[in-house]
């Protein structure tokens, strides 16, 4: 049994990516990983907030780290955005003493303090590097051979700075897909931006980016895409229709969370993993594998 403090983030707990949170917890349980939700957690500090008021965003973020420090375990999040923001708060507080003082004051007002000892981890990192691909492969119950999956990392999970994988050509998700018995397709844009929150203020820009991603994934021969980030999933899945309309394309490629694919390989059902919640239906593609 491995123990971690779990930071679901807003999307995976109660937002559009509820299925990500539930599938993550289900998979973790099946892999003997105990994710204990951080008590009284709040917003991670979020990317848009950072650009409006950086200090307030850092304080918000640091509160989570201070709470997590009490438990003394690694803080795990399934959301790439939370992962980047929490990690950056950590490194900013280490690097800039003046910020440490300001943030410290804000934390003290809530009877908290933070010493910078929490390690922030992404769930993908835990699965690939802590549990290990051999262990995961040994738990595979359903034959997924032949399923062509595009591994989509997005921009945040491997950037910025040193992370658990190569920033330009990450491999961990590719290896994970292979250990599940499926096939990872070539996907040159696998670490590119999905448009992120620009989908709201600058929809045209974001749709352009999503179009390129879908084109690259489909061009590589993928039947479905898996993501490690709620926002990436939303942009690629929910906005596929608008991309088709704008660029006169005909994409119909389901976009799953990586935990859903892991769960599927481990024998869990479509409902259990929330796969039916996808806008672009995945049932048809997966039907053959479920019956196997």
């Amino acid at each position: 049994m491995k123990y971690y403090t779990y930071f679901p983030g807003c999307s995976s707990s109660d937002g559009g990516a509820k299925a990500y949170g539930s599938s993550a917890l289900a998979v973790a349980k099946a892999l003997d990983v105990e994710l204990v939700e951080l008590e009284d957690w709040n917003c991670c500090g979020s990317t848009p907030y950072t650009s409006v008021d950086e200090l307030a965003s850092l304080c918000t973020s640091a509160r989570n780290l201070a709470l997590a420090e009490k438990r003394g375990l690694d803080l795990v999040t399934p959301c790439s955005s939370c992962y980047v923001i929490l990690s950056r708060t950590n490194s900013h507080l280490k690097e800039y003493p003046e910020l440490r003082v300001k943030v410290g004051k804000a934390l003290a007002a809530g009877d908290l303090e933070y010493h910078g000892t929490v390690r922030v981890r992404h769930l993908l990192d835990i699965l690939v590097n802590d549990i290990g691909l051999d262990e995961i492969a040994s738990r595979v119950k359903r034959d997924l051979s032949g399923l062509k999956v595009a591994p989509y990392y997005g921009c945040q999970v491997v950037r910025p700075g040193p992370s658990f994988d190569h920033p330009e050509s990450p491999q961990s998700l590719d290896r994970l897909i292979e250990s599940l018995g499926a096939e990872a397709t070539p996907f040159p844009l696998k670490a590119r931006c999905c448009g992120g929150s620009l989908i709201i203020p600058e929809e045209d820009v974001a749709l352009g980016l999503v179009n390129k991603l879908l084109d690259s994934a489909v061009g590589g021969g993928a039947e479905c895409i898996i993501t490690v980030c709620p926002l990436c999933q939303t942009n690629l899945d929910v906005y596929q229709g608008r991309v088709n309309k704008k660029f006169k394309t005909h994409y119909k490629i389901p976009v799953l969370f990586f935990t859903q694919l892991v769960g599927l390989a481990m024998g869990m059902g479509i409902k259990e993993l929330g796969i039916e919640k996808c806008i672009v239906s995945a049932e048809k593609i997966l039907a053959g594998y479920i019956e196997r």
């Binding site: 190569h166 330009e168 050509s169 040159p188 844009l189 390129k212 084109d215 690259s216």
Partner: protein
């Protein structure tokens, strides 16, 4: 090289490796391992029949993966000596005990499968190290696609391709055999980059310009793009060459290329490699589709520079190249008397600079030989045999390996030819047996007294 080989006072030992060096200036003993070539050097006439008849092929290292060679081969036609070598890793006789075609066809009877390696010991007075450089492998910079896309080449590969005796006979071609209509040349790949090598490799700007000229000559209507940070055309006639290329219609884009991709965004880009960069002269992001990409990759220290340094007691600078005695005043000598360095093993440099440094090193050696004696430091350390307790503390500390231990007398002794008078041993000696001449304890104390009073 050929005249070096035929010179009566020069003994050329190729396919050999230094394994041990002992002694000091004027008195070095060097152990050399002569690897077995499986060809008798005295009998071989260099006719080349064996290479024609050998039925087995392997990648030609000299062509950097672009061409093949036989299992018995000379790396390139002008190689000195013109005596082939058998590579046991690709020779059928060594692998499966079969074939021996070369032996059958060799009229001179020079093939000798029984050859074994030989250890030779030679006495030399001085040593010049010219081990050169390695070419930086750009595959870790995945965004440039070397090893991922077929038509991304390194500088050395392009050089081989453009060579008349190279794998394509001098024809510039893509992997499918067709002629490129546009070529991008990316500067500073692995150099001037904190992730790889911080230093400038010095030769890449000029060889990149030379490549442009070759392309222009061989494919007159080709579009050629140079992606550069700065063009460092520092040598004699270099700037003029740069100007000439501008007149030849080469496109110079100031901006380090960010990426090479095959993901097309427009119909014109389909099937091409697209170089993404920020053109800092017009202040815009650009996408430039080309057929071929050449990476002007860095020069880096030899992979085994560390072992070589240990073998010859050399120091290395932070970038891994061998350290000269003084960066400005003595760029040829090393901290060990009688050992000199020249060429790219000391740092990246072009041919004229290498020739100048090598000539300097040779001149330094010749002047030592003609003088017949060497000057040594006046302020060396000496061991007072009465006081030395034989504890061997000093042996490990001496940075010049100047101290040896007399096992019979159980005493340390210092070789004056090697000692540089640094005083480390004198300071460390627990029984006060070692003194630095002209820096004895009494002398230093009286100096201190003089200063204080």
């Amino acid at each position: 090289m050929a005249s070096v080989r035929s010179h009566e006072s020069i003994e050329l030992m190729t396919y050999s490796e230094v394994v041990e060096v002992s002694g000091y200036v004027g008195n070095f003993k060097v152990k050399i391992r002569k690897k077995p070539r499986y060809v008798d050097e005295d009998k071989c006439t260099g006719c080349g029949v064996c290479q024609e008849k050998c039925p087995f092929k392997a990648d030609n290292e000299f062509d950097v993966g672009l061409g093949s060679r036989k299992a018995i081969f000379t790396p390139f036609p002008q190689a000195v000596p013109n005596i082939p070598v058998i590579d046991p890793d690709s020779c059928a006789y060594f692998l499966r005990n079969k074939c021996r075609a070369c032996e059958k066809f060799c009229e001179a009877g020079a093939i000798d499968f029984e050859q074994t390696e030989k250890l030779v010991e030679v006495d030399v007075g001085s040593i010049i190290i010219t081990t050169g450089f390695d070419s930086f492998d750009p595959s870790p910079i995945v965004q440039y696609g070397y090893g991922i896309y077929d038509n991304v080449y390194t500088g050395l590969q392009f050089e081989r391709m453009s060579n008349a005796s190279g794998p394509t006979g001098g024809k510039l071609q893509l992997r499918d055999g067709s002629q490129p209509k546009s070529v991008a040349i990316l500067h500073c790949v692995g150099s001037r980059d904190t992730n790889y090598h911080e230093y400038c490799s010095r030769v890449c700007c000029m060889y990149s310009l030379k490549f442009s000229h070759i392309i222009r000559e061989k494919i007159p209507d080709a579009e050629i793009y140079q992606f550069y940070i700065d063009l460092r055309c520092f040598g004699k006639g270099y700037e003029e060459f740069y100007n000439r290329l501008q007149e030849e219609g080469v496109n110079f884009i100031r901006g380090r290329a960010g990426e090479v991709t095959n993901v097309a965004e427009t119909p014109e880009e389909k099937g091409k490699l697209i170089v993404l960069c920020e053109d800092t002269l017009i202040g815009r992001q650009r996408r430039i589709p080309v057929d071929m990409v050449v990476l002007s990759n860095a020069l880096e220290p030899r992979a085994d520079a560390g072992e070589t340094a240990k073998l010859f007691s050399l120091s290395r600078t932070a970038d891994g190249f061998f350290m000269e005695r003084h960066p400005k005043l003595d760029p040829v000598a090393t901290m060990t008397d009688g050992i000199f360095i020249a060429g790219c093993c000391q740092g990246p440099k072009d041919i004229p600079d290498t020739v100048a440094q090598a000539s300097a090193a040779a001149a330094r050696v010749l002047s030592m030989i003609s003088k017949g004696e060497v000057e040594i430091e006046a302020a060396t350390s000496i061991v007072d045999e009465e006081l030395c307790s034989g504890c061997k503390t000093c042996l490990e500390l001496c940075p010049y390996n100047a101290i040896s231990f007399d096992e019979e007398k159980k005493l340390a002794s210092i070789n004056e030819a090697l000692c540089k008078g640094c005083g480390t041993c004198a300071a460390a000696c627990p029984s006060g047996a070692i003194v630095s001449k002209h820096f004895t304890t009494e002398q230093i104390l009286s100096q201190v007294e003089g200063v204080l009073i």
